[in-house]
């Protein structure tokens, strides 16, 4: 029973983070209709920003959110403006040119990171990295709990932003119907640029708050891109609420898989879920929840 509860807790804590990662992906997905395969690479960049700030300037990892998020927001906007948007006008046979482009961008980001920081594993060790507290017999990692609450705070403020502000409404309008939004006076090109920046900033936040308890190397982006993908499929394409449920489900599944099946099958569990969802609920949670 203790093992079960412990697994449950760690699954939920991980799931909150995954939700944040998935939300950035599904925002970009919803507005642009393409999958951003550079998502994990952007997270990796955010993590390196945190690592560099901590190592060279001694800034507390949680405070570097205020550096990594604006930095990635800018980077995301530049990527969208100068590499992805020009492709909309280019005439080509393959409609997936933008997706291929994100692969190219991910490769460039990864290799540039390798160039600067080398392939070695890096980590940020703080006084609270290993700290835990107990409720009953169940241990909670302080850093993971903090990460969970920050992720939840970001998710909630994102919701407020999307539902209540003008900009948020424009983003949702563009996601629902690009042409109609254009006719209503939404500058959809500007919206795509902002959305990509926002998605990058969200995933950078996820990377930053993960940093005190995780390790870092240039290729870390790949697994996280795949996770974000499984989350978006689970949650339903382009649904932000779905992304949160998807994140929680994946977090729980991975935790239980690691406890009861084996640590080595991490990726397999994600794929298994992915296939089951495709077979039994093709629309993801979006279809079940009607959100």
């Amino acid at each position: 029973m203790e093992v079960f509860l412990q697994t449950l807790v760690s699954g939920i804590l991980k799931g909150g983070l995954y939700g944040l990662i998935g939300m950035g992906m599904s925002l970009i997905m919803g507005v642009m209709g393409i999958i951003n395969l550079a998502h994990g690479a952007l997270m990796m960049v955010g993590m390196y920003v945190t690592f560099a700030c901590f190592t060279y300037a001694g800034i507390d990892p949680y405070l570097t959110i205020f550096i990594s998020m604006p930095a990635l927001f800018l980077l995301g906007m530049l990527i969208q403006k100068y590499t992805l948007n020009p492709l909309m006008e280019v005439d080509s046979i393959l409609p997936e040119n933008q997706v291929l482009m994100t692969v190219g961008i991910a490769m460039v980001l990864t290799e540039v990171a390798r160039f600067i920081f080398s392939s070695d594993y890096k980590s940020v060790r703080t006084s609270y990295s290993g700290a835990t507290f107990f409720i009953g017999d169940i241990s909670f990692s302080v850093a993971l709990v903090a990460a969970f609450f920050i992720a939840v705070a970001f998710t909630l403020s994102m919701f407020w932003f999307l539902l209540k502000t003008d900009l948020g409404r424009s983003i949702r309008a563009t996601a629902q119907d690009k042409d109609a939004a254009l006719l209503m006076g939404v500058n959809s090109k500007r919206i795509t640029i902002l959305t990509f920046g926002l998605g990058s900033a969200l995933v950078a936040a996820a990377g930053t708050i993960l940093m005190p308890v995780y390790y870092l190397f240039p290729d870390i982006g790949g697994p996280f891109t795949r996770k974000a993908f499984v989350i978006t499929i689970l949650g339903g394409l382009g649904s932000t609420v779905g992304a949160i449920f998807g994140g929680l489900t994946l977090g729980l599944a991975e935790a239980f898989g690691a406890t009861y099946i084996g640590m080595a099958y991490d990726d397999m569990i994600g794929l298994l879920i992915f296939i089951l969802v495709l077979l039994f609920i093709p629309g993801g949670f979006k279809r079940l929840l009607k959100v």
Partner: protein, 336 residues
């Protein structure tokens, strides 16, 4: 007019190992021919059918491991893998396509990416069958590279002609109709699921055969090599898009360019840096050269970005455009 260049190219390729005798260039040409096969496979599923695959390494590795396991587990020649490697890759492609062709576009692409990772994982974890990270070592049949060269050439010719025949047949038109507009194709009575499966299986068969060839030729494989995302799957995409998506000879040109670019980086701009370092006697340049040699993936990444931005249809696909840019006056004739 259009008939002669391929024949000329074939003649040059047949004469190549007779004229060029050093092993290094023969080795490079064998790799080029292998990539022609893989690129043709990728082109069928992605270029013609429009279902971009990021997981060619899954089929490539399956083919290679089939050939390798024939030796280590069954004790028969790895050459049997040339046939059965393709069939084994199809055996992977079939259930995968059955499930994942419910996805469209980028989602399918990501599913293939996941397949790639899972296959690598299986090959790594299932140690009783594959020996995991230890890999499989097989004695090469021939000492000389020439037999391998002609086998690779035969395979490449068969795959290019095979793709040409398929694309000229009814199947080919169905494939293209799915790429252009899947819903319209469906409404006109094309069984899109069936034809997408067919296309994927053709691609898997070709890629699996190339994998078996790789096993036979290299003599050693491990999961990191044959299921590599960057060195196989992304490279296959690059061969496709650099050469020209949806063209018969695109993969041929693409394979040549990509292997050349790969070597270019690996050898430090064909020894350019070493030469400079020797001339100036500077240690800095040697250090820099080391970085450049490791940076072939970075070069690939930049190449992807540039090619997609500037030549979205590849060298063969945008040939008229290139010719117009270089010789603005000479081409008065409108070619189409």
């Amino acid at each position: 007019m259009r008939k002669y260049p391929p024949i000329l190219l074939l003649v040059i390729l047949i004469l190549f190992p007779i004229v060029v005798r050093d092993h290094y260039h023969q080795h490079l040409m064998i790799l080029v021919l292998m990539w022609v096969v893989i690129g043709s496979g990728w082109n069928v599923i992605a270029g013609y059918t429009g279902q971009v695959s990021f997981g060619d390494a899954a089929f490539f590795g399956t083919g290679a491991y089939t050939a390798g396991l024939f030796v280590t587990k069954l004790g028969i020649s790895a050459w049997w893998g040339m046939l059965f490697g393709g069939i084994a890759a199809m055996a992977i492609a079939f259930p995968f396509g059955w499930i994942c062709f419910r996805l469209r576009g980028a989602y399918f692409a990501l599913a293939t990416l996941a397949l790639n990772e899972v296959m690598r994982h299986i090959a790594t974890v299932w140690e009783s069958l594959t020996d995991g990270m230890v890999g499989i070592l097989v004695m090469q049949t021939f000492v000389s590279k020439v037999p391998y060269y002609y086998i690779a050439l035969g395979l490449a010719v068969v795959s290019v002609i095979g793709v040409q025949i398929i694309m000229g047949s009814k199947w080919g038109y169905y494939f293209v109709s799915i790429r252009e507009d899947q819903d319209a194709a469906e409404s006109l009575g094309v069984n899109t699921h069936f034809y997408k499966m067919l296309s994927l299986n053709v691609a898997a068969f070709l890629t699996g055969m190339a994998g078996a060839l790789f096993m036979n030729y290299m003599g050693f494989i491990d999961p990191e090599v044959v299921f590599s995302l960057h060195d196989i799957s992304i490279m296959a995409i690059l061969v496709g898009i650099v050469g020209g998506v949806g063209t018969i000879y695109g993969p041929v040109v693409g394979a040549f360019v990509m292997v050349a670019v790969h070597e270019f980086f690996r050898t430090g701009f064909f020894g350019f840096f070493k030469g400079i370092a020797a001339l100036t006697g500077s240690d800095m340049i040697i250090v820099w050269a080391k970085y450049v040699m490791q940076a072939h993936v970075l070069g690939f990444g930049i190449l992807v970005v540039l090619v997609i931005l500037l030549l979205p249809n590849g060298i063969v696909g945008d040939w008229n455009l290139i010719v117009k840019k270089i010789f603005p006056v000479k081409t008065r004739r409108v070619t189409g």
